[in-house]
């Protein structure tokens, strides 16, 4: 009996031992499995996701910001420094400091000469003709296209056409058309006329006309795109109320695209002194003073010589124009914000 009991105890102990071993290996298996599972399925915590976002963000943003620091900030700082220097170019010395000599030269030339005054008048003329003639025409044309009136798609293509052609090509085409074609056609009808672009008195109107003609392309696309965003319900209500096209244009369309318009108006102000008015394409380096703008003159100063002799003076003009344009742009921006109907739709 005792022997039987003993054998039973041994069996129980042995089973217990086996079960412990089995449990031990089972635990190892569970641990291994859970480790494997964790390895396969990434646990996504909010913190690690944010970290990844930031790494991605900064790795992509770094180069463009370095580019900005070099080619915008660096260029402008260098431009300011350049305005206080003079080109020497002998004995290994390229530039030497001259204080405000370049600024004195500008004010001397501006107040005691006619050239820079004329350029100021011309620059402003190009801007205001663009504002008073070009902008309303662009808005009317955009409205015509947006309303899908007769042949609107065709006119859209025609208006955009000058934008796809090089200004060298359009300038030469225009030059030829006006100075040769028009003169010859008029001669066939017995009317003698001098080539408009060759004649100093006619040159400015001819160049202004060319600038307005070539200015529509991208503006039409932007304005008509902005107009298509106007809610259809607003236009339909207006139509039910019997609102005429002109009234709709003035009272509905213009207020609703004012944001887009003001962007272009502000950018236009910033371009007053940089606008070359296609003069380089029309006349290369020989545009007469009656049409020259500051933009064209600055470009000539930089591009005319083989050395950098006029670089400091061109940089000086840049600083002076910037000092004039910054408050002017701020004022225009403020003014546009004041009159902006600020319609939400």
């Amino acid at each position: 009996m005792k022997r039987q009991k003993n054998s039973g105890d041994v069996q129980t102990k042995f089973e217990l031992f086996l079960s412990r071993i089995s449990d031990y290996f089972y635990n190892i298996s569970v641990k291994l499995h859970s480790k494997k599972k964790n390895k396969g399925e990434k646990t996504v915590s909010m913190a690690s996701n944010r970290k990844k976002q930031l790494v991605f963000y900064f790795s992509l943003v770094a180069l463009p910001i370095i580019h900005y620091l070099i080619f915008y900030v660096g260029v402008n700082i260098n431009s300011i420094l350049l305005a206080f220097k003079e080109y020497v170019g002998v004995n290994g010395v390229v530039y030497r400091p001259v204080g405000f000599a370049n600024f004195e030269r500008f004010f001397q030339e501006f107040f005691h000469g006619q050239m820079l005054k004329q350029m100021l008048v011309n620059s402003l003329t190009f801007y205001f003709v663009g504002l008073i003639v070009g902008l309303p025409l662009a808005l009317f044309f955009s409205f015509y296209i947006y309303k899908k009136y007769f042949l609107s798609e065709f006119f859209r293509v025609v208006l955009f056409f000058p934008s796809i052609i090089s200004s060298v090509v359009t300038a030469f085409m225009y030059l030829f058309m006006v100075d040769v074609g028009l003169v010859e056609i008029m001669a066939k009808f017995g009317v003698e006329m001098l080539p408009p672009l060759g004649e100093p008195e006619m040159r400015m109107p001819a160049v202004l006309f060319y600038n307005v003609m070539m200015s529509f392309g991208t503006n039409i696309i932007m304005y008509s795109s902005a107009m298509t965003r106007i809610p259809v319900s607003v236009v339909e209500y207006a139509a039910i109320d019997g609102v005429k096209p002109f009234k709709e244009f003035v009272s509905i369309t213009i207020p609703l695209i004012f944001d887009t318009m003001s962007t272009f108006l502000i950018v236009g102000v910033t371009g007053i002194f940089t606008n070359q008015a296609h003069l380089y394409a029309l006349f290369a380096k020989s545009a007469g003073i009656e049409v020259q703008t500051f933009g064209y003159y600055t470009f000539l100063l930089t591009n005319l010589g083989v050395t950098e002799i006029e670089f400091p003076y061109a940089a000086t003009l840049g600083i002076i124009f910037t000092l004039i344009l910054v408050p002017l742009t701020m004022f225009v921006r403020w003014l546009l914000a004041k009159i902006n109907p600020d319609v939400q739709y």
Binding site: Y57, H67, V168, V169, F176, E184, T228, T322
Partner: protein
């Protein structure tokens, strides 16, 4: 009654009638310019000298001659660049600059529009400042900087300089990305997509029309641009620079009669014209710019 109705309608559409008349005048003007150019480019020079606007037999040889007459001497007289090379330089210049500018602008605007990071305000402000605070006359300084970084008078120098996020197209892309629902991005992130995958495979395909439109507009701009290559890569004259010299400095650029110059104009114009015909809708697609706020 019918007369009265017509009177009311005509009054309503008087405004649009005037706009239509101006548009017709504009169209006639543009077509007459193009017609004169094409007609002159197909004239034999002696015929042109006798009667510049009269009809004469078509002389297609001008187009063939332009490829040999249309050349520029570069690298201090060591190399002659013909029209074929110029067209290749134009293609390289326009493609590289348009791609560089479009990629940088779209990536930056995506990051600013969709990631909440403190730097966004700085980036957005730099764009607005560059647009509304005009810095004039930086060209001499830019040339000096290009020289300092070895980018002056190289084929890919302008591409590096143009690969900036500043400019109007940043706002175009910014408006597009802002208008895009975040749900797409969230869904892709839950499915395990990484940041780069989300940007390239989810977000960019959704705005590919705008991206392509901007690319095409930039490409045309660079293809037609003559002033940047004239200054920054004068030993690699693009077709626009070549044509500029061909038209205005004929002494530098072979025998340039007026019909030959017109043929040169048409050769530069035709590739873009064909591109325009094929991608008209993309060229004139809807691009929107909002206000300058911030």
């Amino acid at each position: 009654m019918r007369r009265k109705k017509f009177k009311i309608q005509s009054k309503n559409y008087l405004f649009m009638g005037i706009v239509l008349a101006v548009l017709i005048a504009y169209t006639i003007f543009m077509f007459s310019i193009l017609f004169f150019t094409v007609a002159t480019s197909l004239k034999f020079n002696p015929d042109y000298l006798i009667d510049p606007i009269g009809f004469s037999p078509l002389y297609f040889q001008n187009y063939k001659n332009a490829f040999s007459a249309f050349y520029q001497i570069v690298k201090n007289g060591k190399q002659v660049v013909y029209l074929g090379d110029m067209l290749l330089y134009s293609l390289i210049y326009a493609l590289s600059c348009a791609l560089g500018h479009m990629i940088v602008t779209s990536v930056m605007s995506y990051l600013v529009a969709k990631y909440k990071v403190w730097l966004n305000k700085f980036i957005y402000t730099t764009v607005i400042i560059a647009m509304v605070l005009p810095v004039v006359g930086a060209l001499p300084s830019q040339i000096q900087m290009a020289k300092a970084f070895g980018l002056y008078n190289t084929l890919f120098g302008p591409c590096v300089m143009q690969s900036s996020y500043l400019g109007m197209y940043f706002l175009v892309f910014y408006a597009t990305f802002k208008g895009l629902s975040d749900e797409y991005i969230e869904a892709a992130t839950i499915d395990g997509a990484g940041q780069f995958t989300v940007m390239l495979k989810i977000v960019f395909p959704l705005v590919k029309t705008s991206m392509f439109a901007v690319f095409v507009l930039l490409f045309i701009g660079y293809w037609n641009d003559y002033s940047t290559p004239l200054i920054y890569m004068f030993d690699y004259p693009t077709a626009a620079v070549g044509l500029f010299n061909f038209v205005y400095n004929p002494s530098q650029a072979g025998t340039a009669t007026i019909p030959l110059r017109m043929a040169g104009c048409m050769i530069l114009f035709l590739p873009i014209f064909l591109l325009f015909i094929f991608f008209k809708d993309i060229f004139m697609g809807n691009l929107t710019v909002g206000g300058l706020k911030g």
